[in-house]
């Protein structure tokens, strides 16, 4: 192979065709609220860990939907489970359980 000093750049595009429905269904079976996020961002706004490091449940949900579960896991690693997000979620999502469930389901390889 020839090295040209440049090469193909990995795509940052979301490819919904890669969405893992099985895993998502597994997530839904333990936390059905995973479906009802409306991306308002309240959780991220109040996040205790978010003061120190980039972390966002809203974004993690997006990443799950957008077939980027590893990014979701990465985002949620900073969570301290303090529960502020569950207090402010307008849809009453059990955010702490959602976070743990995502971690549980998607860290299984």
């Amino acid at each position: 192979m020839v090295d040209f000093g440049f090469g193909l750049v990995p795509s940052s595009r979301i490819n919904l065709d890669l969405f893992d429905k099985e895993k998502y269904d597994e997530l839904l079976s333990i936390e059905p609220d995973a479906r009802i996020c409306m991306a308002c961002g309240s959780c991220t706004a109040v996040c205790t860990a978010g003061k120190f490091v980039h972390t966002s449940l809203r974004e993690a949900m997006e990443d799950i939907f957008n077939a980027k579960p590893d990014k979701a896991l990465e985002t949620l690693r900073a969570c301290q489970l303090c529960g502020k997000c569950s207090m402010v979620c307008p849809r009453g999502i059990n955010t702490r359980h959602l976070i743990m469930s995502i971690t549980k389901v998607y860290s299984k390889k």
């Binding site: 192979m1 020839v2 090295d3 040209f4 000093g5 440049f6 090469g7 193909l8 750049v9 795509s11």
Partner: protein, 354 residues
């Protein structure tokens, strides 16, 4: 795919193309990339179709590359263009034909800008006068050279010695058309067939017997993108763009790509080599690439020009499988012989791309 739907759109995007007396301006880069294309164009229009095409050695670049690379201001570019228009008027022409899509886009942009901002036009007029003591007249018709071939596609077909057909199977060749972004994406009404389903090359393919391939990423840029290519650090993006297009057209197994822009055939051609050499992937049959030709080269092929006179040896992707399919006779030994039998030298052999 519903063909009638497309026809309806094509009928909405027709443009007036004058019958004769054209002022022709060349492309800066095509002359070095695919040098025979413009010569073939002039030969076909002048000698085969009997049209009056005038060109002058005084015309220059339109400034497009510098403009799109953010190195010269718009007023400078407009003044250069105004000078070209002045040359046209000076020589008694009013139908402006350009060989380059970048130029075509820029001329359109300039004319539209002047229409919206007449004070700018006045200023350019002044600039041109100050700098060259010239006065310009805006062309009555601004057309791209491919528009002209499109207009005469049926006459060319009538004179053709062969069609875009696989002579071994009798099946039409599957042809991908690629339109330069600046042909109609900026001003859909300025291109034949508009921006979403441009017809300019499709018309030629249909007239010459080929079958059009409509693949998902057909609207995507070839990857030139000016700054994406000029700066080495960005070149990966240029390559990735091209790669995306090939990945998308691959399932359709195209035999040929026709383009109408200076950069596109170059990048669709050369990047196939880079993709092959850096990843091992090829898109044609049996390790070959997909030939990416200019519309003049294709017109020349169907009209029976010798492939080496058309400069097909200057393509990175070998055209032999295509020539074989079309039943074009050629002498492989003469591939790298220039005018008068002068040896052009063999390119360095590729390891992946046949």
């Amino acid at each position: 795919m519903i063909y009638e739907g497309k026809q309806k759109i094509w009928s909405d995007y027709q443009k007036d193309i004058p019958d004769d007396h054209y002022f022709y301006v060349r492309s800066c880069i095509r002359q070095s990339f695919f040098p025979a294309s413009e010569a073939t164009f002039l030969d076909i229009t002048r000698n085969r179709l009997g049209k009056d095409i005038f060109e002058t050695e005084h015309h220059t670049t339109c400034g497009g590359i510098a403009y799109h690379s953010d190195t010269i201001p718009q007023e400078t570019v407009m003044t250069i263009i105004a000078r070209q228009f002045a040359l046209m008027a000076k020589n008694g022409y009013e139908n402006y034909v350009c060989s380059c899509i970048t130029s075509f886009g820029l001329y359109c942009e300039t004319m539209e800008t002047w229409r919206e901002f007449p004070e700018l036009e006045a200023k350019i007029r002044e600039n041109l006068w100050k700098s060259c003591k010239l006065e310009f007249v805006k062309p009555k018709f601004l057309i791209h050279a491919s528009d002209l071939i499109y207009k005469y596609r049926n006459q060319i077909a009538a004179q053709a010695v062969r069609k875009l057909v696989n002579v071994h199977t009798g099946e039409p060749l599957k042809v991908v058309e690629h339109i330069g972004c600046h042909y109609s994406k900026m001003f859909p009404s300025k291109g034949v067939g508009g921006a979403e389903y441009p017809y300019v090359l499709v018309g030629m393919i249909e007239a010459w017997g080929g079958e059009i391939v409509d693949y998902p990423e057909r609207r995507h840029c070839c990857g030139f993108g000016f700054r994406q290519y000029f700066i080495k650090g960005n070149r990966g993006y240029s390559l990735s763009n091209t790669h995306k297009k090939f990945e998308s057209m691959e399932p359709f197994k195209p035999d040929l790509i026709i383009t109408n822009c200076p950069g596109c055939p170059y990048f669709l051609d050369r990047w196939q080599y880079v993709i092959a050499e850096s990843t091992g992937k090829t898109y044609g049959q049996d390790g070959h690439g997909i030939p990416a030709l200019t519309y003049e080269e294709v017109a020349g092929l169907v009209m029976g020009y010798d492939p080496w006179d058309l400069g097909l040896q200057t393509h990175q992707v070998g055209v032999e499988p295509l020539l074989d399919k079309m039943g074009v006779e050629y002498d492989p030994a003469k591939k790298y012989l220039g005018k008068g039998g002068k040896d052009l030298g063999m390119p360095f052999p590729c390891s992946c791309l046949k």
